[in-house]
């Protein structure tokens, strides 16, 4: 039983470059979440999916951020025209059930993005 995996683990991008971060949730998990964790801070919510439906994207900081989960499994977080303030660890989490209860979220190891 593999946990949540994310790739790449590290990404260095030049300012203005587009990046794509991948999340493989635990098999069968319905809900998938993306969080952004700045250095020395707690994670902050970006967006979440229930199966393939993106139910909340209120945490995405700008229209340069876009997330998808087309088949209700793997998810990709895309950042266009990266800026230095986008440098952070991007965490993906999945949970077994539909959002609303006290379902445990299982976190991946994160992708550390550095924008130069």
């Amino acid at each position: 039983g593999a946990g949540v995996s994310q790739s790449p683990r590290y990404k260095v991008a030049k300012r203005g470059q587009d990046v794509a971060l991948r999340c493989d949730p635990i098999s069968g998990h319905v809900s998938l979440f993306w969080y952004q964790q700045a250095l020395g801070q707690g994670p902050e919510f970006l967006t979440y999916f229930q199966n393939e439906a993106q139910l909340d994207k209120s945490g995405l900081p700008s229209d340069r951020f876009f997330a998808e989960r087309p088949e209700g499994s793997v998810s990709t977080l895309k950042i266009q025209r990266t800026q230095q303030e986008d440098s952070a660890v991007y965490l993906c989490a999945s949970s077994e059930a539909r959002v609303g209860g006290r379902e445990t979220q299982y976190f991946g190891p994160g992708t550390r993005l550095l924008v130069l």
Partner: protein, 109 residues
């Protein structure tokens, strides 16, 4: 927006000492969770507290949920170097988790 504040932000202690980490909010939460995060890894759930006044123990860790469900504390007895890490509290809010800023604990041998 529900906010969670953690204190202290940093804590450096010697092995064998006791410590308490606090998580406070002006809002009521239906439950609160405590996570531990090690460098290069994602947060790992330690415990969920649900009932006001609830106390849960996990070996040397004792978690308490305030009576009004607005605050929580984590007490570690006889800290060990293996307890080193970032401790995060989090509360559910419309499905997603709202995290505190974290307490970075270092336990020196």
């Amino acid at each position: 927006t529900q906010l969670l504040e953690q204190s202290p932000q940093f804590l450096s202690i010697q092995e064998g000492e006791n410590l308490t980490v606090y998580c406070n909010s002006s809002s009521v939460f239906s439950s609160l969770q405590w996570y531990r995060q090690e460098p290069g890894e994602g947060p790992v759930l330690l415990v969920t507290v649900v009932t006001g006044g609830e106390v849960k123990k996990l070996k040397r860790l004792t978690f308490q949920f305030g009576d009004a469900r607005k605050d929580s504390s984590l007490h570690i007895t006889a800290a060990q170097p293996g307890d080193t890490g970032l401790y995060l509290c989090a509360g559910p809010s419309l499905g997603m988790l709202t995290f505190g800023g974290g307490t970075r604990l270092m336990v020196k041998p």
